[in-house]
Every structure is written in C-alpha cells, then in structure tokens.
C-alpha cells in the first residue's frame, strides 16, 4: 500500500514538544515568581522553612478546589458556587458538631451528602435548562451564601461564626487526618498531602481512564461526543459533584484546623480556582488542560500571595500581581494552543 510519508514525519524539537504541554505556562510562571520573591524577599523569610510552609499551605488549599474546577472546565462548564459551598458545608459541620453535639465524623458525612446533592442539582440544572453554567452556579452560589447566613443566624441567635468544634466527639482523630502538621519542625500542614493526592487522582482520571477521555470529549464538542456515544449528562453531573465534594473537603480541613466555621469562609475562592486553572493552561472554552497545570497555577498564586507579605508591601498588592499573571497566562495559552495545532506541520 502506498503511504504518504514526509511532511508529517518531520522531527519536532524536544523543546517545542515540551512547550506545547498545557501545564508548561504555570510551571514556568511558578519558577519565575519564586525567583522574583527569592531575590526581593529572600532575606526577610521567604526562603525559610516557615516561608515555604506558608505559601505551600495557601497553594494546597487553593489546589484542592482548583483541580476539580479544572476538570469541570476541561469538561466545558464553570462552577461559581464552590466558594459559598465552603461556607455552607463548613457551617453544617460546625452547627451539627459544636451546637448539637454530633460526632464530628457524622457531621462530615452529612456535609458530604449535602455537597453531593448540590453538585447534582447544579449539573442537572445546567443540562436541563441549557443555560450557561456561569449563570446557574452564580445563582446557587448566592442561594447557598444567603441560606447559610440565615440559617446560622437562626440556630445561633445572630452569629456568623461558630466556635468550639474541637469540643465535638471524634475531633482528635479528625485533627490527625485533616489538620496535623508534618515535616521538619512540624511546619507543613497535612493539607499539602491532600492536595497532592487529589492531583494524582485527577491526573489518573483524566489521562488513564475512559472517563477522562469523555471529559475532554464533552468539553471539546458536546454534540460530537454525544454522537459517538459518550454519556454527556452523566459526565457533567459527576464533574459538578467533584467540585462540590472538593469544596466540602476544604471546609473540613479548615474547620478542623481553625476549630471554627465562618459563613463567609471561601468567598472569592470560586474565582481564585478559575484563575489557578486558567494559569495552569485550562482553556476557558473547554476541552483542553491538565490537573497538574491547575496545581502549578495554585502554586504560583500561593507564592505571589505570601511572597508579597514577606516583601513587606501592602498585602493587597498581590491581587494586582495575580491579575497581571492571569492576563499573561491567557495570552500564553492561546499562543500555546496555536502551537499545539501546528506543532507537527
């Protein structure tokens, strides 16, 4: 049989092949901001164990939400309710355990069930109505925030913070699993391991399973995926459950670490998670990206947020830097995607 050889067999330079990977921008970005703050704030503690621990823990907390959000975005949808979900599930755990004396593990299971149900509802509403998930989940975000504040106020006679979670039965075991510190000088919170485990699972799902292939498919072209037999509705609903459950995990970690819950906890995370995912190479239009990219997006975010503090300027500057990085990342991503489609021409 005759064969068309030639143009498509051209060797591609290893550098270029590396460059077209979705997570490259975030890896490079993390290195650049780390070097920057190592120079600017290295002498004031950024490079110390405490400094490293501080940005790793911020990054881990963000990554726990950003990685499932990245999967959802690869699947072509947004979830703006992940911030309010932290407040809502955190408060469920706090009220049930600290106010009503439940075993904290039972309270966690209740919160988890609640998260699964809200995730299913988000996915179901998006699929059924055909409305953009951006709007639908914005709606659920406000419903969650408002209802959490209202119900907490009724149950606690006007409070927005519930304390004394550490008095609940089962707390010490929960602390060992969700809030203990590890490493040299007990500096590193265990949430870093949770984030890494989540990234490993997400990467395996995305690249190693049929389900991962479906995620890329439904995000790239839902109709085409449906035509080839991908259960589009099931995939999207599972991804929404994933973002809700990961928000519940973060709420558990923060509740147990701080021994309290705040109705406003997590507000803004919905956008930080999207920033981390996009900086990590996830396309806003879906169908492209990686979990490792989102991890490095979160890492860059954490380095900037904590690095600014060590640099000794007003901490709010970090938002300006994050905004700048986001814009650069989006530009870089659209260029990388172009490169990916041309890479072997």
């Amino acid at each position: 049989m005759s064969v068309t050889t030639g143009e498509r067999m051209v060797r591609v330079s290893p550098l270029r092949r590396l460059l077209v990977r979705p997570e490259m921008g975030a890896v490079a970005g993390s290195i650049v901001v780390w070097i920057f703050f190592a120079i600017v704030a290295g002498s004031s503690g950024f490079l110390s164990l405490r400094g490293t621990s501080s940005y790793l823990s911020v990054s881990a907390e963000l990554a726990i939400q950003a990685v499932p959000v990245a999967l959802l975005m690869i699947g072509g949808e947004f979830d703006l309710s992940v911030g309010s979900m932290v407040g809502a599930t955190g408060m469920i755990i706090a009220i049930l355990s600290a106010q009503y004396g439940w075993n904290i593990w039972a309270a966690m299971v209740a919160a988890l069930i609640f998260a699964v149900l809200v995730g299913m509802l988000n996915g179901y509403l998006v699929i059924r109505t055909g409305l953009p998930s951006f709007i639908v989940t914005l709606g659920t975000a406000y419903i969650l925030l408002g209802a959490t504040t209202g119900i907490t106020s009724i149950v606690t006679n006007g409070l927005t913070v519930v304390n004394a979670i550490d008095q609940a039965p089962g707390y010490s075991a929960a602390h060992a699993i969700f809030a203990t510190a590890l490493g040299g000088g007990q500096q590193f919170p265990i949430e870093i391991l949770w984030a890494l485990a989540l990234v490993a699972v997400a990467t395996w799902l995305l690249l190693g399973t049929s389900f991962g292939n479906w995620i890329f498919g439904v995000g790239g072209d839902a109709q085409a995926a449906r035509n080839t037999g991908v259960p589009v509705t099931r995939v999207k609903i599972l991804l929404f459950i994933g973002t809700a459950v990961s928000s519940c995990l973060l709420a558990i970690i923060l509740d147990v670490s701080f021994t309290n819950a705040d109705v406003l906890r997590g507000q803004g995370n919905e956008f930080y998670a999207i920033v981390a995912a996009v900086v990590g190479g996830v396309l806003l239009t879906g169908g492209y990206g990686s979990a490792i990219g989102a991890l490095f997006g979160a890492l860059a975010f954490g380095i900037v947020e904590e690095g600014i503090v060590f640099a000794g300027v007003n901490a709010e500057w970090y938002k300006a830097v994050i905004g700048l990085i986001l814009l650069l990342a989006v530009l870089l991503n659209s260029y990388v995607r172009k490169l990916a489609l041309e890479a072997r021409r």
Binding site: S210, G212, N213, F216, T228
Partner: protein, 304 residues
C-alpha cells in the same frame, strides 16, 4: 469494480419516500437502494434535497411518506444512535471529531478499550494507539504520534480518520455527507481512495456530493436529485461522465444563471462589463450542453 449483487436484500432500500416540513415539500417520491460492496452516489445541487435524504437515512428525520427498509426489514429510527446500532454510520461534515484531542483518543471516544477491573479499570492507551496506527496505516496515513491533536491533520486525513473509525466499529453502511467538499484535489483523492477501500471490504457506501468529477470515478450507481425529486438512478454502464455532468449542471440552470447575470450587468455600473461577459459565457456553455451533452471546456473543479 466488482459489485457483489447477491440475491439477498439490499442493505438500505427506501421506497417512495417523501418529506414535508409544514407545507414545504423537501423530498417527493424518492426511491433508492444500496447493496453491500457498492457505492451509491447521491448527486444534486444545493437545495436539491440531499441533506434531507441523508437525515432520513441516518435517523435524524422520519419520512412523511414511504418505506425505509434495512436488510429487507422496515425500520423506524428516532435517533442517529438507532441507525448506528444496526450498522448505519453517518460521517457528517462536522465529523464528530474534537480538534484539540489526540488522534487515538478521538478514534476511540465513547468506545475506549480498557484493561484491569473494578475501580482500577483504565483506558488502555497503548492498545488504542496501536489499533489507530494500524487502521490509519491501512488507509495510507502515517502519523508520528497518536497523541497529536486531530487538528494537526489535513481535512482529507480527518475525513479518512472519521471513515476509518466508522468502519472499525462495525458499520455495514457508510453515509458520507459531502466528504470531498472543501478539499483540494489531492486531498479529495485520499478520501476517494478510502471510499474504494471501504467498498472492497464489503461495505455499502452512500456518497453524497455535488461534484460529478468526484462521483463518477468511484460510483457504481448514481441517483440524481433536483428540487426534491429524483431524476432517476443510473448504473455506471448506463451513463457517461459527460451525461452525468450535464444532468447535474443542467443546461437550463446555466441559462437561467446567464439571464440573472445579464440583469445585474445592466444595473451594475462598476462591474457591468465583466458581468455581461460572464453571462455570455454561461449561455454559450448552456448552448453546448443542450447541443451534444459535451463537457464544457471551461468547466473547472468546483471544490478547489
């Protein structure tokens, strides 16, 4: 080309099919069939009813009148999945391919091979890559990496991959919706060659096109549609390329086009002269077609 005309029923057989959308007659009294190992070309200009007929064949629409038989038994498909499950695969123009996904991932999307069990069941990337590589090599496409995005393939190769996928997953009938439209000459050649290969493997192929130059070399039968009606089905032996071309680009259409351009020529001050010239050419071509059914000299490839 060998047509395996056995005594068995045709794979697809539509009889006196009509389709109305409200008061609009999209198709009227169409009959056609395709056997295993045959290429049936469905020709017609824009608006001739080709897409409506494809949509009926592929299960998107139901016919308003007439019968649709698959392997001799009447069928009523309500979705393309129904048609696919009996072995009628339609490669639509948009191909159901995802440009940023890798070739083998696209190839197996929705039907991924797996290994392992229970929660550890995983997408067998290696075997997906191997099968895709083999299937592509079979149609003469050599790709360096199966993970490279489908978007890096040319239009003709993408068509071929889509067809290869349909064949691999057990299609008995392939319906190809304008697979050579928007392709260059060389690219169209790749697709035509693959249609021939699919036929040689015993598939029935329905090849929809408005280009008689692509249809004639590959087709065994030709059904011509015009304004929702069939102008007849011809075996290759019964019709010459010239006759096919002249029936497609009917003399009257060309004449009509000439008149229309004349009309524009009178009102258009800037391009009037050129338009008049073009109108004259069309009329001359129509004249030639009328006289002896010859292919006009100035006929160019429409798709290049």
């Amino acid at each position: 080309m060998s047509t395996t005309n056995t005594q068995t029923a045709p794979l697809i057989d539509v009889q006196h099919v009509s389709k109305y959308f409200g008061t609009v007659i999209a198709l009227k009294d169409i009959s056609m069939s395709v056997n295993a190992g045959e290429v049936m070309c469905l020709l017609g200009d824009n608006g001739a009813g080709k897409s409506t007929l494809i949509k009926i064949l592929s299960g998107v629409h139901r016919p308003s009148e007439g019968r649709y038989l698959f392997e001799g038994k009447e069928v009523h498909f309500s979705t393309p999945r129904d048609a696919l499950s009996v072995g009628i695969a339609t490669v639509f123009q948009d191909l159901a391919m995802i440009p940023l996904m890798g070739i083998s991932r696209n190839f197996f999307l929705g039907s991924e091979p797996t290994k392992g069990w229970g929660p550890f069941r995983r997408f067998d990337v290696r075997s997906a890559d191997r099968v895709t590589r083999e299937e592509l090599a079979r149609i003469g496409i050599q790709v360096r990496e199966m993970s490279q995005p489908v978007g890096t393939l040319s239009g003709g190769e993408r068509q071929s991959v889509a067809i290869a996928r349909a064949v691999y997953f057990g299609a008995k009938v392939l319906i190809l919706d304008e697979p050579t439209a928007a392709l260059g000459v060389k690219e169209a050649g790749i697709v035509l060659r693959y249609i021939a290969q699919a036929r040689a493997r015993g598939l029935g192929v329905i090849f929809i096109t408005h280009n008689p130059h692509h249809a004639y070399p590959i087709g065994d039968y030709f059904t011509l549609l015009n304004r929702g009606r069939s102008m007849g089905t011809f075996a290759k032996a019964e019709i010459s390329r010239e006759e096919l071309t002249s029936m497609m680009a009917g003399g009257e259409e060309l004449e009509e086009l000439g008149h229309e351009l004349d009309e524009f020529a009178r009102t258009d001050k800037i391009a009037g002269a050129q338009l008049a010239e073009a109108a004259k050419e069309f009329k001359a071509e129509a004249e030639v077609l009328h006289e002896d059914g010859q292919q006009p000299v100035s006929e160019r490839e429409r798709d290049t």
